[in-house]
């Protein structure tokens, strides 16, 4: 199934584009999407800390996946996932 991915800030540079359509298997999860997009150790380093905590925000249709089922959150056709880094300042 087709998932729309929107990158923000650093991830635009990493992927060289603002948006992308990604195909994941039917009944795919966020983790499947991550496997497709972050397909090298270098890329996985952008989103996972040493103990595999997410370093960035993954928003599924506007909701952070941490408030859903995390990486196990199920996706459905035409979902939008926003991927962006953690950031803060004053």
């Amino acid at each position: 199934m087709k998932i729309r991915v929107r990158f923000l800030l650093d991830f635009i540079k990493i992927f060289g584009q603002n948006t992308m359509e990604v195909r994941v298997p039917p009944n795919g999860k966020v983790s499947d999407l991550i496997d497709v997009l972050f397909d090298s150790d270098e890329k996985r380093g952008y989103i996972f800390s040493e103990n595999n905590y997410l370093k960035g925000h993954f928003l599924l249709n506007g909701v952070n996946i941490l408030g859903l089922d995390g990486l196990q959150t199920l996706l459905k056709e035409d979902d939008e996932v926003v991927i962006m880094p953690n950031m803060s300042g004053g």
Binding site: L9, Y53, L59, G62, V63, M84, P85, G90
Partner: protein, 620 residues
């Protein structure tokens, strides 16, 4: 002694007496400088229970050992008793004042008393004099700066001043310098209560450092680090300044929208009109605090807007949020105008923005009406109303007088159950970071001696975000779930201590995201001390504990400082849907880890002894 002038000034504004006092190096070593020096001097030299706006109140200005070192040290602290919280207050500010202040020959100036007529203090290369400011009283900050430069016939003097809101003791007021603000804690009202219009410095005597070669080496590495910065936050600051955080923090829900009621892009799609790129269209030049290679600030020119042509600083993230998304205003010109009004009159954009958002919610819910507001239609997103009400606050005019002392006092004045719309902790408005999103800052909201501060807990927040920061490789904290309160409390205590040392040294938090900031090594190089990481942490804990001891001494029950109900709740929609934070437990475990009694917030006797504070803190 290196890196310090070794002396401070006490200025009694009631008598006009100016008394220099030499300080022992051991005091500097225990408290470093800036806010550390401020709490040390003020704790010792004030009597418990004093009125923050009375003659016994002491107001400090101070600098640190890295001020003027060429290593990003351009911040100074203003310290005293906060009229907003009734406890400890500090604020800090960049620009160039700190360097000129230190070069003028003093590490701190502490004002007491109340002058019979308005005055300003002028220090030039070690010589201090109080000068009449009667002719400046009532003038705004821009006019004041211009007039002082003219009468001193020196366009290069550096000035901290207050405008009419500070003179009229508005808690929303800020002490201004170079269109930057030392805004939090209501200390501009303390300055106004003393009839101290300005503090002016001119200095050219650079303070020697212990090991100039080592410092030059560290500086070279640091500057190279900034030039080639890979750290995402460092890059963002260098390229855009803080407005980029508006782009970055709206989507995950960290940026307050509609008085902290909602979160995320869908809650305020028009936020795109105030994204960083929009402000950059009007940027005329980048601007840096003196000696800072990052240069996160900028100037803009907005020609022929509906509020006229405006030339001034680009609003910071805090300002864009508090006047923008928090009031549902997406009109860039209105945000720029409101910011400019605050700079002109001397107002804290955070407290003012929070108070306007509160007032809008009161208006929308019928607690106040046009009669109360003087005809201003205070509706969500009404840009003209925002500008109009900020101007009223600046003048303490009509409804502006109701709002001028910040969100807590405004709620007390309006009554009718309006407290539930007042987003504050302990009397001070929450800044532009929802603690459910920026959890590290939330630890500061819960545990710091000054509640609701965006400059209190950036080290912990950096750790939570899993990004590198100065010392992160040496602190080597375990990689944890940021929401695990018990596991994070000890880390927060250490992070808080490091925060205090960064600020007390005269540095800016933004320097720590360049990966090359040699905090410990630089303090050692300038002072000649065998300063270690362990000493750094213990020193920071000492400063934290004494600030908190001040709160306890002044009778403030900090355990009563709570998150507003709305902010403490679990979001039912938006990006943070379902995210639950245990703020009460963060306070409890946070205090415990800091060596404070979790039930009372009082630093434990063992903590007082361990930190060498017994002699000073014998009155708790």
């Amino acid at each position: 002694m290196f890196a310090y002038n070794g002396k401070i000034l006490f200025v009694n504004l009631s008598t006009g007496e100016i008394e220099p006092r030499e300080l022992d190096e051991s005091l500097y070593r225990q408290f470093i400088g800036c806010l550390g020096l401020g709490i040390r001097i003020i704790y010792e030299n004030t009597k418990p229970g004093f009125d923050p706006l009375g003659p016994d109140s002491m107001l400090g200005f101070s600098v640190g050992p890295l001020t003027g070192s060429g290593l990003h040290g351009a911040r100074f602290a203003i310290t005293g008793k906060s009229p907003m919280t009734g406890g400890w207050g500090d604020a800090n500010c960049g620009g160039s004042f700190a360097v000129y202040f230190k070069n003028a020959g003093y590490d701190g100036v502490f004002f007491t008393g109340i002058s019979e007529k308005p005055v300003y203090l002028f220090i030039k290369n070690g010589v201090a004099e109080l000068r009449d400011a009667s002719h400046l009283w009532g003038k705004d900050v821009y006019q004041t700066e211009e007039a002082i430069k003219q009468e001193l016939e020196d366009s290069r003097v550096r000035i901290c001043s207050i405008g009419p809101p500070g003179e009229r003791l508005a808690y929303c007021a800020a002490v201004m310098h170079d269109q930057s603000a030392a805004g939090r804690s209501g200390l501009a009202a303390v300055m106004g209560s003393k009839r101290l219009k300005a503090f002016v410095v001119q200095g050219s005597n650079k303070v020697p450092v212990a090991d100039p070669e080592r410092l030059a080496q560290l500086r070279k590495t640091f500057l190279q680090g900034v030039k080639n910065v890979q750290h995402p936050w460092g890059q963002a600051l260098r390229d855009y300044g803080t407005p980029i955080f508006f782009d970055a923090l709206i989507p995950p829900g960290s940026t307050p929208i509609k008085n902290f009621a909602v979160q995320g892009e869908e809650a305020f799609p028009d936020y795109a009109l105030c994204k960083a790129d929009e402000f950059m269209k009007y940027r005329t030049r980048r601007h840096a605090c003196l000696g800072c290679p990052i240069a996160c600030k900028g100037w803009l020119e907005l020609k022929d807007s509906k509020y006229g042509s405006i030339s001034g600083t680009i609003p910071e993230y805090e300002t864009i949020t508090m006047f923008g998304s928090d009031c549902l205003v997406s009109d860039l010109a209105a945000v720029v105008k409101a910011n400019d009004l605050c700079n002109q009159y001397g107002l804290d954009t955070i407290e003012v923005g929070a108070t306007v958002a509160f007032a809008i919610e009161c208006y929308e819910n019928g607690l106040i009406d046009d009669k109360d507001t003087g005809g201003i239609e205070l509706k969500w997103g009404n840009a003209d109303a925002l500008v109009a009400v900020v101007e009223k606050i600046a003048r303490r005019e009509g409804f502006g007088d109701v709002l001028a002392d910040g969100v807590k006092v405004a709620a007390d004045r309006i009554g009718k159950g309006s407290e539930k719309y007042a987003m504050h902790s302990g009397g001070q408005a929450l800044p532009a970071h929802d603690p459910r999103g920026d959890v590290g800052l939330g630890w500061g909201y819960c545990c710091d001696a000054t509640p609701g501060r965006h400059t209190a807990n950036h080290v912990k927040h950096s750790h939570d975000c899993k990004v590198a920061f100065t010392l992160s490789d040496r602190l080597n904290f375990p990689d944890l779930d940021p929401l695990d309160v018990d596991a994070n409390a000890g880390i927060n205590a250490v992070c808080s201590a490091v925060d205090r040392v960064i600020t007390s040294a005269g540095l800016c938090f933004f320097a720590m995201w360049t990966e090359q900031l040699p905090l410990i090594e630089a303090i050692a190089a300038v002072t000649g001390w065998d300063f270690t990481l362990e000493e750094c942490i213990k020193t920071g804990r000492r400063i934290d504990a004494l600030r908190q001891a001040f709160n306890i001494r002044e009778g403030v029950d900090t355990t009563e400082w709570k998150m507003p109900e709305r902010v403490a709740a679990v979001p039912t929609d938006g990006p943070m849907k379902g995210k639950k934070l245990q703020f009460d437990r963060m306070k409890l475990k946070g205090y415990e880890a800091m060596g404070w009694d979790p039930k009372t917030g009082k630093p434990l006797a063992s903590t007082i002894d361990e930190l060498g504070l017994r002699e000073l803190v014998d009155d708790l």
